[in-house]
């Protein structure tokens, strides 16, 4: 549980001055101009320093008084505070606009990759009453330029200590927001099953896997079909690992039938770690093993029927160089139920959003 001392609500009120005294002062808010049938927009931006030549224009807009900012050195304008926060929050792969819009800074992806957000400090920052930062979900594959998060200071003026507190949280947990680039891994696929090997049914897995890895810039360089023979599967995995394959993918044989021996074959292939069973439907019988840093994936047969499965959740993380384990499999349980909608809208749905 996070504990953060809530800072007191700010009590800053902009100073009201007569228009004739406004030269040299800084506007506390936008001033909108409306010319019927012709124009509606902001004529003077918040933060604008009033010049002598502005006075006539302001008076034409009916202004006789203005709210201006009269800040001491301990008070920070919201735009300045938001930009400082953005600088502290934006890790590698994150860019942001130079102009806060209505006090808000928007973060975008600098390149294609896997969006990462450090959730704990994100929540901690939002417990500071004067700041907020909202993001899309952790582990979402993103495209260059895509909107990822936004931050703003909530009141017009922030106390320097409060800003420093927030900056401290962001800097301590750097990077709070980041994008990991996808590695263009070369994958090899082992399709298992006597029925496919014997030619009784046509394989459909190769097309599925080719498309899914290709989306992220990886490629399938070799496919082989094997019968449900544990020894043959183990030998082939071993040979793929020995020849420097980046990612070994197997399909089928993950269930509990006597002929489901692929997971046993993986186990016997000399791997270092193995995780079997995940809190995801479809994909409960998913398997993930590692030989060194090379993943060996066991996709259950459900991936032939369901458009989206746990493979779609784990694959981007593997391509981003992560090594998910059984704890990650368990975390996926919250949000791990695919609703099997008639028209799949993944990733724009709750599936995999932990």
């Amino acid at each position: 549980m996070l504990h953060y001392k809530r800072s007191p609500l700010p009590d800053y009120t902009p100073k009201k001055i007569k228009i004739e005294d406004a030269v040299g002062s800084t506007l506390a808010h936008d001033i909108t101009e409306i010319r019927p049938g012709e124009y509606k927009g902001t004529s003077f931006r918040k933060g604008h320093k009033v010049d002598r030549k502005d006075l006539c224009h302001l008076m034409r807009l009916g202004k006789r008084h203005l709210y201006v900012l009269d800040l001491d050195k301990e008070q920070i304008h919201e735009d300045n505070a938001a930009l400082q926060m953005a600088t502290a929050l934006a890790g590698p792969g994150i860019t942001f606009d130079r102009h806060p819009r209505e006090g808000k800074v928007q973060f975008n992806a600098a390149y294609d990759g896997l969006f990462k957000v450090n959730v704990k400090p994100l929540i901690e920052l939002n417990l500071i009453q004067e700041f907020m930062c909202a993001s899309i979900h952790n582990n979402t594959p993103v495209k260059k330029g895509q909107s990822l998060a936004g931050t703003r200071a909530i009141p017009l003026v922030i106390h320097r200590d409060t800003l420093n507190n927030a900056l401290g949280v962001a800097r301590t947990h750097y990077p709070v927001l980041s994008v990991k680039v996808f590695n263009p891994l070369k994958a090899k696929l082992i399709i298992t099953g006597n029925e496919v090997y014997g030619g009784l049914i046509e394989d459909k897995f190769e097309a599925v896997v080719t498309e899914k890895v290709g989306v992220f810039g990886a490629s399938l360089v070799e496919t082989i079909i094997l019968p449900d023979e544990k020894k043959m599967i183990a030998e082939r995995i071993r040979s793929f690992l020995d020849d420097g394959t980046d990612l070994v993918i197997t399909t089928g044989g993950m269930s509990v039938d006597p002929d489901d021996v692929t997971k046993l074959g993986i186990r016997e292939a000399g791997i270092d770690q193995i995780y079997y069973g995940a809190g995801v439907l479809p994909g409960a019988m998913f398997l993930l093993a590692y030989k060194g840093n090379v993943p060996v994936v066991g996709i259950p047969a459900c991936a032939l029927y369901h458009k989206t499965t746990i493979f779609d959740l784990i694959l981007p993380r593997l391509l981003a160089g992560e090594k998910p384990d059984n704890k990650d499999f368990a975390r996926l349980a919250h949000g791990g139920l695919c609703l099997d909608c008639p028209t799949c809208s993944f990733p724009a749905c709750s599936f995999g959003k932990t």
Binding site: T87, G91, G93, I94, D97, R98, H99, S178
Partner: protein, 198 residues
């Protein structure tokens, strides 16, 4: 006030090294771009920090655009987007108004029509591009350009250190790869290979 066309073209040709049709296109494009974004003397001290130009080709016209507007790569006011398209986008940083100007292929066909008395194709284009109306020479589009803060001119605000070779990477050009912050050469490879003697 901005100099007249002939003076700008002369200066541009000198800066570029020769007079060519690309110089004419570039000078006219830049003059139009500045007019559209409301800058009448972009390289003057009062306006030089108000402009950024994105060029989409690294050919003759780019030097002309740089000459007329005063934008420079080293000032971070000239941005190169390697599209291989004879186009440039002129951005007024104060108003955020931006216009992309594209030199059309059709204008090349018009050269013979506007300068029929010149037989040499190079000279024909050079003279014709001076008089072809702007609307026939270019396609203009008002656009919006979101310029990341890390691409702005001014002092360096962002620095990272490559986790592999320890090179300092400025302006948020670092890459997060397999859990490591890397410079682009370490992340994606180099455009060069080390020279091996012998």
């Amino acid at each position: 006030m901005m100099q007249d066309f002939e003076t700008l073209l002369k200066g541009s040709a000198e800066a570029h090294g020769h007079l060519c049709p690309g110089q004419v296109i570039g000078v006219r494009m830049a003059m139009l771009g500045c007019e559209l974004i409301g800058l009448d003397d972009p390289s003057s001290p009062s306006q030089i920090k108000r402009i950024i130009v994105y060029v989409e080709i690294d050919r003759c016209a780019t030097d002309a655009i740089s000459h007329v507007t005063g934008v420079k790569l080293g000032r971070r006011s000239l941005k190169f987007v390697d599209n291989g398209i004879m186009a440039a986008t002129f951005v007024n940083l104060e108003t955020s108004r931006a216009f992309r100007i594209h030199s059309t292929e059709e204008s090349r066909d018009l050269a013979a029509e506007y300068a029929p008395h010149i037989k040499d194709k190079h000279l024909q284009q050079l003279e014709a591009y001076k008089i072809i109306p702007l609307e026939a020479l270019f396609v203009v589009e008002e656009v919006k350009v979101d310029i990341p803060i890390s691409d702005m001119p001014g002092p360096t605000q962002f620095k990272a250190v490559c986790g592999k070779c320890k090179t300092v990477v400025r302006d948020k050009k670092e890459i997060y790869k397999t859990g490591q912050i890397l410079c682009r050469p370490c992340a994606f490879g180099t455009y060069y290979e080390p020279y091996v003697k012998g």
